[in-house]
């Protein structure tokens, strides 16, 4: 009861707090049924996959053993998790009169098992979908994508082509780092006198970010060749094509990376500029020694993200006849009437992207830790 201004306030009715114990029995039974259905669907899908295999002898037996084992594991695990959920719910109901705390714990455990069933069911259904997909049309789909003979025939050519992709993106990445910074510094050039420079930078960035990369590639590579644009006119054949392609990608990605740089430069608090200028450093010196080094540290993660995009976009260079991996894959595919080489080429990109992606994640985590006061 509160004493306000000498008047005793009438007591408010106390709020009745109910702490019901949720046994979650209904959901547990539903989880058990869901799990069993998912297991059944998976079993059917894997059986169809087996029927479509079209191999004979020992290989077929090996597949049979493997698929049966997989089906068994999926079924047992899903049934077990579902049963445990039901068992915990029943236990919770039984414990209510004796021990409310233990009953609540059992109810919570039942919920955990339900989530296990949910997650594993989804996994099993994805597996089932893949099996259905790869066995569609008696395995014709699978043959289109996963013809090991075709992939095997393509592999030596794949490495030859992909090495060219790697060379292009490594050179392009280095040039993009420089070109992007130049553009970003022009974009934030200070003062009234800097207005034309800023305008040019904005125009460039708008243009090359807005232009579909593939059009830029067409225009630069084919146009520069046809027009004998210097300094490329001094180069010959493959070297010429390599540098034209790299230039096209640098033009496109320079615009993206410039914006990343700009965000980084603008994220450095003005007090750093004030401190540097107050010591007598010029604007250029402040940028060079104080602002840019701090900005670069901050933008490494988004920068690497753009680099992943750049690496993939080297495949676009196939349209102007660079004999990179996609072009070679397409040639092999057309000859064999099979798409598997294309899939293999795609996998090569994934394989080279994953380490970079994980490295980016690691950097982001490390920075988050540092900000949290590491």
């Amino acid at each position: 009861m509160a004493l306000v201004g000498g008047i005793v306030e009438p007591a408010e009715p106390a709020i009745q707090r109910l702490h019901p114990i949720n046994t979650r029995l209904g959901l547990s039974i539903a989880a058990l049924v869901t799990g069993l259905v998912a297991a059944a669907v998976t079993a059917v899908a894997l059986a169809r996959f087996y029927d479509s295999l079209g191999v004979v002898g020992g290989a077929l037996t090996a597949w049979a053993v493997g698929l049966v084992a997989l089906t068994a594991i999926v079924t047992v695990v899903l049934a077990a998790c579902g049963s445990l959920a039901v068992a915990r719910s029943v236990q919770a109901a039984r414990l209510i009169p004796e021990d409310r705390v233990a009953a609540r714990a059992s109810g919570a455990a039942a919920k955990d098992w339900q989530w296990y069933v949910a997650g594993l069911s989804i996994t099993a259904l994805v597996l089932a979908f893949l099996a259905f997909f790869l066995s569609a049309n008696d395995g014709a789909v699978r043959h289109q994508y996963l013809d090991w003979d075709a992939i095997d025939e393509f592999l030596p050519t794949l490495w030859k082509g992909f090495w060219l992709n790697i060379k292009v993106f490594l050179v392009a990445e280095i040039l993009v780092l420089i070109w992007g910074l130049v553009l970003a510094l022009a974009r934030i050039f200070p003062g009234k006198a800097g207005r034309p420079v800023r305008f040019l930078a904005v125009a460039y960035i708008d243009l090359f970010r807005g232009f579909p990369a593939i059009i830029t590639i067409y225009l630069v590579v084919l146009g520069f060749q046809a027009g004998d644009v210097p300094p490329f006119d001094r180069l010959q054949g493959e070297t010429k094509l390599f540098w034209l392609c790299t230039t096209a990608l640098v033009l496109v990605y320079g615009a993206y990376v410039a914006e990343v740089y700009r965000a980084g430069l603008e994220s450095i608090h003005w007090s750093q500029t004030a401190a540097a200028r107050s010591l007598g450093l010029s604007y250029a010196q402040t940028m060079r020694y104080v602002i840019t080094p701090q900005a670069v540290r901050r933008i490494i993660p988004p920068l690497l993200n753009d680099f992943i995009g750049l690496q993939k976009d080297t495949a676009l260079l196939s349209v102007v006849g660079l004999l990179e991996v996609l072009n070679r894959a397409r040639l092999t595919s057309n000859r064999l009437f099979n798409l598997s080489p294309n899939l293999a080429a795609g996998v090569a990109f994934v394989l080279i992207t994953i380490p970079l992606a994980r490295f980016t994640d690691w950097l982001v985590r490390r920075q988050a830790r540092a900000r949290a006061g590491g």
Binding site: S271, A274, R277, S278, L279, G280, L281, Y289, V290, Q294
Partner: protein, 247 residues
């Protein structure tokens, strides 16, 4: 002629008139303290003297030379006028030593060896030479602020501006910073400081200026300002300070 002269200095941010005609004289070897309520323009005034903000009216002269408006060599001016900020503003990506030597090397053109030696001597004076290779985030607030002072001193300024340099510090770290300022005052460094440390202002300053409403309402020797303030607003301000137990 005073070393630093301010004449009718005006400064506004948008429609907000921050300084409305500040007149101030600082003689060589003077220590002048600016006191006044929050938002009265103490920091802005210091930043104007160092040309980190452009003034909208009036004039600033340093050693008789025009230090505001067009045609002023700002980088040259700032070599003579050092400033230490409330939030230290050390460069986080550089070691303590590089923080101190950056400007001497890049602006004065000192060789690295020479700049390092000078910086280490200065750091030694404040007992931080052992931290020379550490990054600022390894230092306490008080240590960071002492490094910031040394960074400004490394340019051998003729005038040092101190902008509430102890406001961001934990109370027990304040004295280590103030001791350095006290030493500098004894050595004859010309200083203009905005501060909320009234006892310190009373002890160290040769002149105290009370700033309020964009003008200097009252100025005089510390005994007079703190002992028998004449201006009504000064009296109200100091009464509040005393009520808060800060004087």
């Amino acid at each position: 002629m005073a070393f630093l002269e301010l004449e009718g200095v005006h400064k506004r941010f948008g429609t907000n008139q921050v300084l409305t005609g500040v007149d101030l004289h600082v003689d060589e070897h003077d220590v002048v303290c600016l006191i006044g309520p929050s938002g009265c323009g103490k920091s802005t005034l210091l930043r104007c003297i160092n040309a980190l903000e452009q003034i909208d009216g009036g004039a600033i002269r340093i050693d008789g030379e025009q230090a505001s408006g067009r045609g002023v060599d700002l980088d040259g001016l700032r070599q003579d006028v050092g400033i230490v900020f409330q939030a230290f503003n050390l460069f986080p990506h550089m070691t303590v030593l590089d923080n101190v030597t950056l400007a001497p090397r890049k602006v004065l053109g000192l060789q690295r060896k020479q700049a390092d030696d000078r910086a280490l001597t200065l750091l030694g004076r404040i007992g931080l030479d052992a931290k020379a290779r550490d990054y600022p985030d390894r230092l306490s607030g008080g240590q960071q602020q002492r490094v910031a002072i040394v960074r400004a001193l490394a340019m051998q300024p003729r005038l040092l501006l101190l902008d509430e340099i102890t406001s961001a510090l934990d109370p027990e770290l304040v004295s280590e910073v103030l001791n350095i300022v006290r030493e500098l005052a004894n050595e004859g460094m010309t200083m203009l400081l905005a501060t909320h440390e009234m006892s310190f202002a009373r002890e160290v300053s040769s002149k105290v200026c009370f700033l309020d409403g964009g003008v200097i309402c009252e100025e005089g020797p510390p005994e007079q300002i703190f002992g028998e303030p004449r201006n009504e607003r000064t009296r109200i301000f100091l009464k509040r300070i005393i009520e808060a137990g800060r004087l």
